[in-house]
Amino acid sequence: MSRSEDRRQPDPQVFDRARLLVEERIRRYLRRSPYQLFPDEVVVRHLVTRLARNVVEHGRQYCPCRKVTGARDADRPNICPCRTHHQEIARDDHCECRLFVSREFLERRSDKR
């Protein structure tokens, strides 16, 4: 782990359980949503890692790209999927952290390649 990380590393077993939980929640959400995952394994793995870390450290699956203030009411909208993710995807074709993207985003990327 990078020395630039200020946080103590979570217990590996606790972290692995959190990671599995996050992955299952994402799978369940994708089954009922019109969105897809960002089409890059490294990106998705990183975001899932960050989400799992937030579960371990803060008790909730907070967005990896938003500050966790510690105030539950203020942070609640940022539990993944964030309350604003529909607007973000409608505007940018991806949510804030880019975990969820629109089908149009994927089509444009495959056209480009």
């Binding site: 990078s2 630039s4 990380e5 890059d40 890692t49 960050r50 790209c65 952290c97 880019r98």
Partner: protein, 176 residues
């Protein structure tokens, strides 16, 4: 529109944390220019900062120039303020310019998606590599691909960049 491989580096004129303003011409004598979109708040940038410093250090004697640019909207992300940039550069020992793109004009020209995001330009300032630093944001020891280092080595050796485009990993650029 995002830069494509082969595109020329758009010019810029931005203030740095050292009190100087920097333009593209300031680095004209360097055989390679690495422009990294960065910021202060993003956990992925924070995870990569030591690696950025180390890569810069490892290639400094080969006259590779690193430049970091922060374009994030400070009104929404006050951690990304210029004062905090100065502090971050001091604390992490940045030996490269860390520039503030307050208007986001330069970001619109380069079109980064996230931070950190790398744009590597050759001596003619044509884009030869774009994307991530390596393939393991969370654990440097687990990296299997050192994408930026590989691109730098190939560029400096006069070789074609084998993998010129990778998906950068990080938080989205915070547009106004």
């Amino acid at each position: 529109m995002a830069l494509s491989i082969g595109d020329r580096a758009p010019d810029f004129n931005l203030p740095g944390v050292d009190g100087r303003d920097y333009t593209l011409a300031d680095f004209a004598d360097k055989p390679a220019l690495v422009v990294i979109w960065s910021c202060n708040h993003c956990p992925t940038v924070i995870a990569y900062e030591d690696r950025m410093v180390q890569v810069e250090r490892d290639y400094a004697d080969k006259s590779v120039q690193f430049v970091a640019i922060n374009s994030n909207d400070v009104s929404r992300y006050p951690d990304d303020s210029f004062d905090n940039m100065v502090e971050r550069a001091r604390k992490k020992g940045f030996k490269f310019p860390y520039l503030h793109d307050e208007s986001q004009e330069v970001a619109r020209a380069y079109s980064p998606s996230v931070t950190p995001e790398v744009f590597l330009f050759d001596a003619e300032r044509k884009l030869v590599y774009h994307g991530r630093i390596d393939d393991s944001p969370d654990d440097p020891s687990a990296a299997k691909r050192q994408d930026l280092r590989d691109a730098l080595d190939q560029l400096l050796a006069g070789q074609r960049i084998a993998i010129a485009d990778t998906n950068p990993v990080g938080c989205s650029v915070k547009w106004k």
